[in-house]
């Protein structure tokens, strides 16, 4: 019968492999965790300072050189977002563990430090197939659209003064477009799966998207009016004295709520509502396709708090200790400030996730149209008015 040899005493013993908490070495754990942070920081520096410097040194900076440089930077950013996702998934699980009086991942790697790497590798080795009822093309397109449109937010986020890939004059409009697009991916994925749960998830994604996108646009307008620019770099520049959160308090609150909705994050996680729709729009996805939905979610979990910081909390502003802005050291320091502020907001989001139950989607819709949009309009007019008074 069995091909597995039965041991003498008829018991199969588990191997005590893995990182034993009894023999834990705190310095090792700290080291592994700080590796993530260091990797993150190094990637940021390398992307925004290293690659341009390299191309400068090569003297390859016109025309195609520019494109290649950007492509290289995008690849770096992809690695960065992988690091972010690994870090954030781990952070989420560890933090949920903490507040739930348990530990979360802790045996694979010091204090669970490499758990998410295993998860990623596993997903790489997992079958990924298209169900018969699905529309093949759209089914395959959806994860890519979702991921790329989340990922493309990176293009305009300033990590430090001048550390942006596309410091465009129209950054804000671009952001709205991209966030609509990411809902698009979810909608497509859900609707093309040929699965009813996914379809309901897609419907909800659509409904949710149309309800938070408008306040989002109005909040962006307030920010643009107040800062006199749609370039994220300039918006941050304008906050040198006072952070936008003070004059733009109403838009700030609305923005936090909308970004929770855009993130599909508790309390607004209707499209994937684990306990209602099984897994929502990604029910039929497995393996790498699913991984990209997952990745997109966590990249957004970094980027949307980052945008909160950019718009309302002074971006990369912080004491520079006499460093000349624009130099490598100053950039590194500024990106550190930026990341720390972002981390605080990520933590708040995780905290919300740990606490709150889920709203009902029609309640969000009504909330959005009857409370958030009037408030956002009011906020916009107020911002314009204050801008005139205080100019």
């Amino acid at each position: 019968m069995s091909l597995i040899p039965i041991p003498e005493d008829r018991r199969f013993k588990i191997k005590l492999i893995g990182y034993d908490p009894g023999r834990s070495r705190p310095w090792l754990e700290r080291f592994v965790y700080s590796l993530y942070v260091v990797a993150f920081w190094l990637f940021v520096i390398a992307t925004y300072a290293g690659v341009p410097a390299l191309f400068d040194w090569l003297g390859w900076d016109g025309g195609w050189g520019y494109v290649v440089m950007r492509a290289l930077q995008v690849v770096m950013l992809f690695l960065l977002s992988a690091v972010i996702a690994l870090m954030l998934i781990l952070a989420l699980r560890k933090y949920l563990g903490k507040v739930q009086e348990r530990y979360g991942p802790m045996h694979y790697g010091p204090a669970g430090g490499i758990q998410t790497v295993f998860d990623a590798l596993k997903l790489l080795g997992k079958e990924d197939f298209v169900p018969a009822a699905a529309d093949w093309l759209t089914f395959r397109l959806a994860p890519a659209v979702t991921f790329v449109s989340s990922f493309a937010i990176f293009a305009v986020v300033p990590f430090a003064s001048g550390w942006t890939l596309a410091d465009s004059n129209v950054g804000l409009i671009y952001l709205i477009a991209v966030s609509t697009l990411s809902a698009y991916g979810v909608l497509l994925g859900g609707a093309s799966s040929g699965n009813k749960w996914a379809l309901i998830g897609a419907l909800r994604a659509g409904a949710q998207m149309v309800s938070y996108e408008v306040p989002l646009a109005l909040v962006f307008l307030s920010v643009a009016v107040w800062s006199g620019s749609m370039s994220l770099g300039k918006i941050v520049d304008a906050q040198l004295g006072v952070w936008n959160v003070i004059p733009l308090f109403i838009p700030f609150v609305l923005y936090v709520i909308s970004s929770l909705a855009e993130l599909k994050h508790i309390p607004f996680d209707f499209p994937e509502a684990e306990s209602e729709l099984i897994a929502g729009y990604n029910v039929e996805y497995s393996g790498m396709s699913f991984a990209f939905f997952f990745l997109a979610e966590f990249v957004e979990l970094f980027l949307l708090p980052a945008l909160i910081v950019v718009f309302f909390f002074g971006g990369w502003h912080g004491p520079l200790f006499g460093l000349e802005p624009g130099t490598l050291a100053a950039g590194a320091l500024q990106s550190l400030y930026f990341s720390v502020k972002t981390a605080v907001w990520v933590w708040i989001f995780l905290w919300i996730r740990a606490t709150l139950p889920r709203y009902r989607d029609d309640q969000l819709m009504e909330f959005a149209w009857k409370a958030m949009i009037p408030l956002a309009l009011l906020g916009l007019v107020l911002a314009a008015y204050m801008r005139l008074i205080w100019r």
Binding site: M1, L3, F12, R102, D119, K122, K126, A279, F290
Partner: protein
């Protein structure tokens, strides 16, 4: 077949190493399917509670079979459920494993004399690890999950599934005209 072997041994050293690496990752990140059936399901949930906390080993529930790796059959499988269970198993993406939890799932347990109960879930799906008990305590489930982990990552154990695939489909009703098993 892909580059990685699935049931037979991998072909050469490089791919073998890659295969080992991926299997290591698989064994360290087993996501069970949320599929509580009976009493044992409560203990299955308790395996993720603060006291035992299987999440320490990187396991958390996925609701959809497409994303799950391990199916924990936690309770009595009767003939009505059997088709659904097999269907869920079929719908899981490869590679996949099954843990049979508790007396009922193993061989029908106390209810095996009844007319409605499938005597052992291994008649429907290939089972990798069995847990005795009624219900097994959460630590026993954790032990089984870790046995499964060793089985996945250990080359010697990996390529020997205890039973290749279910052979006895008597528990199913006759397939209908379209070749499918009728629903009710």
């Amino acid at each position: 077949m892909g580059l990685l072997g699935s049931d037979e041994r991998p072909r050469d050293i490089i791919l073998g190493t890659l295969d080992d690496l991926i299997n290591l990752a698989r064994s360290r990140s087993m996501w069970p399917l949320t599929f509580g059936i009976a009493c044992c399901a409560i203990e299955m949930m308790a395996t993720w509670d603060p006291k035992v906390d299987a999440d320490r080993f990187g396991m958390f529930f996925r609701n959809t079979p497409r994303q799950a790796d391990v199916m924990i059959v936690s309770g009595t499988v009767n003939k009505k459920l059997a088709k659904r269970l097999r269907r869920l198993y079929d719908q899981m993406a490869e590679p996949k494993w099954v843990i049979s939890m508790g007396a009922c799932a193993n061989q029908g347990g106390p209810f095996r004399h009844g007319y409605s109960v499938v005597e052992g879930v291994d008649k429907i799906v290939p089972v990798d690890v069995y847990i005795p008990g009624c219900p097994p305590r959460p630590e026993a489930l954790l032990q089984a999950l870790l046995l499964l982990r060793d089985k996945i990552s250990d080359r010697e154990l990996r390529y020997k599934r205890p039973q290749e695939i279910a052979t006895d489909y008597d528990v199913f009703a006759e397939p209908g005209e379209d070749g499918r098993i009728p629903v009710l």
